[in-house]
């Protein structure tokens, strides 16, 4: 078994309203920053042991499918690194 860190990034699907990001954007503008848009995402860093990077990725994808993301509103991506 090898030790991996799987990083799962969960973000709203394109087109789904993100009021928190919009509020954050406005606050940045109040601070004097100029920006065209702002998107937010959740990032989970999961330390796990697996036989291969593929297996670690598959495991993290199942975690995303079953809990970390809500398929109705979210897309997610998984990256795996040895740790």
């Amino acid at each position: 078994m090898t030790a991996y860190t799987a990083t799962v990034t969960v973000r709203l699907k394109h087109g789904v309203l993100d009021p928190e990001a919009e509020t954050t954007r406005k606050a940045l503008e109040r601070l004097g920053f100029e920006l065209d848009a702002l998107r937010s995402a959740d990032r989970f860093e999961i330390d796990l042991d697996a036989a291969s990077a593929e297996e670690a990725k598959a495991s993290a994808e199942e975690m995303a499918e079953r809990l970390l993301a809500n398929p109705t509103i979210h897309d997610y991506e998984v990256e795996v690194e040895e740790r």
């Binding site: 789904v16 309203l17 009021p19 919009e22 509020t23 809990l67 970390l68 809500n70 109705t72």
Partner: protein, 225 residues
Amino acid sequence: MTVAVVQFGGSNCDRDSVRALSHLGVDAERVWHEDGLPAETTGIVLPGGFSYGDYLRAGAMAARSPIMDEVRAAAEEGTPVLGVCNGAQIGCESGLVPGAFTTNRSARFQCERVHVRVENADTPWTDAYDAGDVLELPIAHGEGRFEIAAENYDRLEREDRILLRYCDADGDVTDAANPNGSTGNVAGVLGDRESVAVMMPHPERATLPDLDGTDGQGVLRGFRR
């Protein structure tokens, strides 16, 4: 018959639900989620609150607790299940009903009285009303915006599974009367069976006569069948 009001850590409308049901003559009791459903359960309320502190997403943790396997199995056998507010979020997260309730368009927690229009009066939850009736009910949520993929929304409409829509006092479904930006002004939906329903407004807070309005009684009477 006993309606089980499932109490998670952070539920806070469980007592209100029991009291409102008792007022209507429905035998109800609180059930701690770790204890599982009692054998004599004839109905289930998933009450409002902030189960698991709304960690990850509202309802996400409670939806994956072991008692929800029992709730889903009971629902499939026809046991009436009503999810209110956080219970509605749990219902979506657990797949009892389609869609998701997420952050309000305002990005704020909103605690106010709203109007909803009865869309389908041919369900246990609404047969005390007529289609088109306007109810005044309280809402209290930060994540009540109903989101659903377009094809699934079309299916809900086609199958007449939209229970309630936010409207103005005259019953007109307008954007101005939509408190949270919900798709199609949806305030409540049915699951695969009409015995399963979720809604963001609180019928149990509009049931006792001394609490300013009793428009929610009809919803809870769904358990009297």
